[in-house]
Symmetry: C2
Subunit: 221 residues, 2 copies
């Protein structure tokens, strides 16, 4: 059976993505990373639960303490404020963690190469890459080129980004079809529970459920 | 003063490189990583000492336990044998750590972006990229593209590889001119001391000193 590394943050997109990968027929190597973000405890719990429900053959949890040490993001630096969605201006939000996705994809590629997996699933999608440079389709394409050049010649690993042209509403629609347990996913940037409902991440999540006409099963303040 | 992140492994090449970066006029942020390699203790000691002698403004040490967990390399897997230089065949040596340099460059870029550094120095060079895919000049160029796309638009970080066309003999020659303290560098793949003298890394190091007509100051078996 062909194997895929799935970057599983514990959020809505990556959880849906792991179900898509399984639906396509991959054996799942779930890879969760924590890097000192405010909600790392809750996200890790969700990722672990989802990997188990999904029947992932491995669940690997990695701590990237260096991203916390370097700082520069309100997700990890308690001295910086996570803004409400309505207070966000133009440009890159301060929740951007410098070059995080390249760190995640590098780890995922090492994992995939060591295990002989042929795909890596990452849940980058349209509404993210408006703000985050390391979610752009061009970034993912450039990283694919790095993988092709930087691994053994007999290694073939494809970055899979089935959500790259979907918005959150379409992702949730797909997830509902696949029976994704959204009660075990976490999106809030601020709190390990209940969710704040006002940060950018809560805002887009709530909009997506609303547009699908179903209630979000997690608890809000 | 302009700042540069220098990947400082504790080896001969990266140490010389840090002295070159200082000579060019950069303030040095030294970045050392350990990942469970057999000689990590000795390499960390050397890197720390060199950073201090060099007057690096920061020395950051990061543990990448995931590379050890993934395995797949004789540098980290005690169940695999590190071959003598003379027993190496064609192809990628089993000392290759899957996609290691992409992990290192990702961390270095996060560090550089968070600190406002404008350069990253990495000591890839000619005799390595014969064997290791993630030392090829094309790999470094592809990673530069990932940096350009995956960081903030107002971030400009250049990967600096002044050794990419030099061999080890030329690197040591440059190091001697710059007064590099080679007694505080470590190359052996096998032992924390004395060095074995027979692995691929010891072989090339000894050849480089011999070609320069000076003794290698470290102790061999």
């Amino acid at each position: 059976m062909k194997k895929a590394v799935c970057l599983l943050s514990g959020g809505m997109d990556s959880t849906t993505l792991a179900y898509v990968a399984k639906d396509i027929g991959y054996e799942i190597l779930a890879l969760h990373t924590r890097y000192g973000q405010r909600t790392e405890k809750k996200e890790a719990e969700c990722a672990r639960k989802v990997a188990s429900l999904l029947g992932a053959v491995e669940f690997t949890e990695i701590s990237l303490s260096h991203l916390l040490a370097f700082g520069g993001s309100s997700l990890i630096d308690k001295g910086m404020e996570v803004h409400d969605h309505e207070d966000l201006g133009e440009g890159i939000p301060n929740t951007y963690v410098p070059f995080r996705n390249s760190n995640l994809l590098s780890i995922a590629t090492s994992y995939a190469e060591a295990r002989g997996a042929e795909a890596i699933f990452i849940g980058v999608q349209a509404s993210d890459y408006a703000g985050y440079p390391d979610c752009r389709p061009e970034f993912v394409e450039a990283f694919q080129h790095v993988i092709d050049l930087g691994t053994s010649d007999d290694t073939n690993i494809t970055l899979m980004t089935p959500f790259v042209n979907l918005n959150k509403t379409e992702i949730v629609r797909r997830g509902i079809e696949l029976g994704v347990p959204y009660e075990h996913t976490w999106s809030c940037y601020r709190s390990n529970g209940p969710a704040c409902g006002n940060c950018d991440s809560c805002y887009y999540r709530l909009e997506a459920f609303k547009a699908n006409g179903i209630p979000d099963p997690i608890e809000y303040e």
